[in-house]
Symmetry: C3
């Protein structure tokens, strides 16, 4: 009885999650719009255009000095972080791996096209012909822009429909581009690894949306809101690729030469330090000192987030270690104490704990960046090095490092405001009852949006397998 | 009773799949032959030889201008696509993961050595001393060559023995090298990403072989010809690494500078566009608009195949998006309608649906390449750029772009002919009863060629687990 | 009864594996010490310092000639090998995936910081200011240094506590740095890929420790000392990333230009050849010629180890194939015959068979290197090439290649001595009863050191589930 009934319920439920019209419509319309806009606005820049061969000779350059060779390896590492890193990191839930990897894939492919346009209008517009000229650096920035939305996805993982995710991404990219323009161009703050622009914004954007979409009865899905042995191993694939390639992430768009070199070293060291303090705190607060996979999967990455802004500064190797040291502790404590507190009292349900992995470390990163910038001196950087590192040129030629520090802090505030404000706005839109989101007792489940796999009916789904076997049993008992 | 019996049958079956003599014999003989041939023919080229240090000074070059630094990062990405990308993409079957990853590994390691020789004789032979001089570009081309055979493997996945796969590879590499020489050197068609040379050839080669090896009673293996939850997640590892690194694949051997830069951008955009249309069509044709993992795993890659030939041309960003847009739709529709049709009426059993992922998109890519080439103008490319992009030098100095378009089309035809013709020939050879291929009711199963793992006997085998469940059921009935 | 009792035992057991105080203490103290030491000693070198912009102009260099662009792509590949390669290679055990990936992660992050200091004091100390100046090459060397300890971990996998692993690493890194200094600087042996310095040392270091920690009653854990289907697929992720990136490993710190180029080619070829002979021997010695996953996962990598020392020499392509050919055979035979023999008669329990994958191939690599060096001639290398390849400069300007061959052999002996001697010493320390290592019947089990996941108690653990079934059986018989 119970089995059959629960099975019927399971099917009924899929009714209200039908996205058969909305999802294809959004995708096709959107992609068509992209083709038109790309046709009107986007062209190759002088380094990816066939005229490079002439350009190169005029400027007496070698092919190897094409920006492609400075940035492409880092780009590919960033690309892996976006699609495999973020995707697999979210596969820890026992029955939401398709959604984690698949929707992550969809969001990223959807967002990066819009990001190329939005960021292009702000940063790569050629006023001579009104076209956006793109090269490998634009691809990296598009991936960065998408990262903000993937971070936000982590907060609502398993509780929203793919259509909602596309809306979240559309607005997220737009807000990101504006916020980035204000912080980097108007305020002229530096943010190589995007501690502020990407992680702080993305984190608070997702948390605000999750707060707007609060589900009081989410506990009905509790049996699925946990990991199983294999899903935790899959998640480690994401963790490790994020951890390993983070130095490329923070150095991907920094200055050629020492800028990229230094950013990679600082990130490498901060991450190493984070691993040890994460393990320490995780063990210290568990019964028998056992390690918790949730901490190993997430908090070990906090150092990379927090060193993002200052990565290209003369943070010094020991400075990087200190940043990582603190973030490992703070992030792990966040998972142990803050996440439950936020869910219970602030009504913020944060599936992946992005507050501990992105929001908090992002803010720390912004502060570290402000302090490091304010403390910068010519004696350490060298006159040219200082100018070069902080781009004290043109209208900013006479800016002092202390002033720069203040502007860094201002940038951090802008990121937080855009994140919170934008999240509340978008969250409000996503509460409309038209998006086909799952019922409270059907969250963290691939069943509503993905065709089931064979085994599904036999071994995996408790109720079903029970049901399926029963019939077999009867046959068996008869054969006895 | 039944359980025990079915188990005994399972064991008996392994009899006719014994490759204990043939497999080691082929491997050892082959590898020995390779050592001898490499000893006679293969040497380092001037960039990988210790004389580089003198060569460099004579030509006033810097170490960084060694081709290694132009191509090695792309090479490593391609390498990952070949071994992890293709390997894991095929792990979607519930009980054929060892065969998918392991035989993919064997084919690739086996094929790339033969490819270095075959391609070397055609392209890198130094007539002064009759030696083949190899460098990093040869390694990339060897990987490309192997890709053709791995594509073919996708069509016969789970239905052949490792020995058959080695034969398939031996002939496949040979045919590939000849076909490539005709298309690239004699016809002088351009094919940066190998839409024609790799994907069209490999696709039809595999389909023809599968047609020759048609199994009327394959439905006896149906219970295994499907995925389970975990196997689909494993397959996504392959999908994502192929998707992410495809820009490196299409730009790996293009011209230094703008050629590599542009090819990467075009591929990046085409793939992004494909993801959206794939999701749209997959959702549109499923009940309740649920997404099908098969489409997400495969069709999302079609854009990378189709943009291969034109990737280095001035396809324009919007052009790339259009190519991706169409391929996502066509490829997904292929999985929904064409694959079942081909199996039922054309007697072509295509395990991985390579016709939708490689053959069709490959042909589209060839056509797109022909059109783009024919439409090329000096006003867009610049005089030098045009000459440079299409290598209008030497005997081809006076070739017009429209003529080039025609030759591109001719190249496509050659690829199809070699694929179909070669496949029928090799398929005929593979039908000989000496290769130890599995019985119809033992396909898509690792059991015939791989030592079983522990759990095997306890939890996995239906019969046994069935037994275990029995008790649960009764207990249940009692509790009711 | 039995079920409940065995379960209680399972819980009791965790008592003696409580690391709640020791693990956090070691991590925090250690990381704090690192911060202090880095503060005192470590600074950026001229290529990662902001003064690069001046340095560059003085030396008339382009940004692209910053060492970062020569080595960073290889560094990232090596980084992946260390964290994903070694980590996942060890996930083959059915219930030790968390420990394999997680402790590998901990050891590496812990060790690379100490390695930067130890290696820095020996190789990168700037005597003008007493500071260690680091750049990307130091990061690569730190990863290399860590590799030695991860190899050692393979021998004791599943039998030690995380605290023991940290001790193993602390001493391992120290010994490594000294041994490396003696071999590379004092003896002036060349060892690009570390066949001697990394693999021989690491292999014998681990084996000696395992010998000191011999567990006579380990068979009590036998039910867990085996793989399951999924865990073998996870392990293949490690195998493939190691295999694919090994050319980067062997070429990461070789000379710019032809050195890196040649090392990559040689490694690529050796590895391809190893795959075929591994498959051949694996099939030849199994019933029905079935392949054993253990061999495919490990022996296929032996060629990369064995070609490490000679990778940068003029080994010639066919030479690389021969090295790979032999190692595939020897390594696989080692797994079939030697490992059982060593456990039974030498009391060396080698969980991952590192003797077959690292120790033996490492020794072969050292010998190949000695022979290749002794056989080097100016006619093959060119006068400048010879000097350049073997660094016959300064005090070594007049060293003959035959003399170099002898010194290579001497280097190999040093590596073995340090490995065996250091292992016995450290093994003695690890036998102290204070480290919280698991009981004999609780080895190869994540349960003592990791918080359980949901499913844990229900489906996964054989013994329990097995037991569970029994009781249900009784219920069945009664109900009839």
């Amino acid at each position: 009885m119970g089995a059959a009934q629960s099975f019927r319920e399971l099917c009924d439920r899929t009714k209200n999650t039908n996205v058969r019209l909305s999802l294809p419509a959004v995708c096709i319309v959107w992609q068509t719009a992209m083709i038109i806009l790309f046709g009107v606005f986007i062209r190759y820049n002088e380094e990816s255009d066939t005229h490079w061969v002439e350009y190169r000779k005029e400027n007496n350059l070698s092919d190897i000095q094409n920006d492609f060779y400075f940035r492409y390896p880092s780009f590919q590492d960033v690309h892996v972080m976006i699609f495999v890193g973020f995707g697999f990191l979210m596969t820890f839930l026992q029955r939401y791996s398709f959604g984690a990897v698949g929707f992550n894939f969809l969001i990223a492919a959807f967002g990066l096209q819009w990001a190329l346009l939005m960021q292009g209008w702000f940063h790569s517009l050629d006023y001579t012909d009104g076209k956006i000229k793109i090269g490998v650096e634009n691809l990296i920035n598009a991936d960065f822009c998408v990262a903000g939305c993937l971070i936000a996805y982590g907060a609502v993982l398993g509780k929203v429909s793919p259509v909602q995710l596309l809306v979240l991404t559309l607005f997220g990219i737009t807000l990101f581009a504006v916020e980035e323009y204000i912080i980097l161009d108007l305020i002229h703050a530096k943010d190589a690894g995007g501690s502020m622009v990407i992680h702080t914004f993305g984190g608070y954007y997702g948390l605000s949306i999750s707060w707007m979409l609060y589900r009081p009865n989410l506990d009905q899905s509790n049996r699925l809101q946990s990991s199983v042995y294999h899903s935790d191993v899959f998640a480690m694939i994401g963790t490790l690729f994020l951890w390993m390639f983070w130095p490329s992430f923070n150095s991907a768009i920094t200055d050629h030469g020492d800028g990229q070199h230094r950013a990679a070293i600082n990130t490498y060291l901060a991450l190493a330090s984070t691993v040890l303090t994460t393990v320490a705190v995780s063990s210290l607060f568990q019964k028998h000192g056992k390690l918790d996979m949730v901490h190993i999967q997430n908090s070990t990455l906090a150092g990379g987030v927090a060193v993002g802004t200052a990565a290209e500064f003369m943070l010094m190797p020991y400075g990087s270690l200190i940043v990582g040291f603190c973030c490992g502790i703070i992030s792990t404590l966040g998972y142990i104490f803050l996440t439950p507190f936020m869910e219970k009292y602030l009504k913020i349900q944060d599936t992946c704990g992005i507050h501990n992995l992105h929001a908090m470390p992002g803010v720390i990163g912004g502060i570290v960046g402000a302090i490091t910038a304010a403390a910068a001196t010519e004696s350490v950087y060298g006159a040219e090095g200082l100018r070069n590192t902080f781009d004290f040129e043109g209208e900013f030629a006479d800016r002092s490092t202390s002033k720069q520090g203040g502007h860094q802090a201002a940038g951090l505030c802008v990121a937080i405001c855009f994140g919170v404000g934008g999240g509340i706005l978008v969250g409000f839109i996503l509460r409309l009852p038209i998006w086909g989101d799952p019922a409270d007792d059907n969250c963290f489940n691939d069943e509503p949006y993905w065709e089931p796999t064979t085994e599904e009916c036999q071994n995996q789904q408790p109720s079903l397998s029970l049901h399926g076997q029963t019939t077999k049993m009867i046959a068996l008992s008869q054969s006895m």
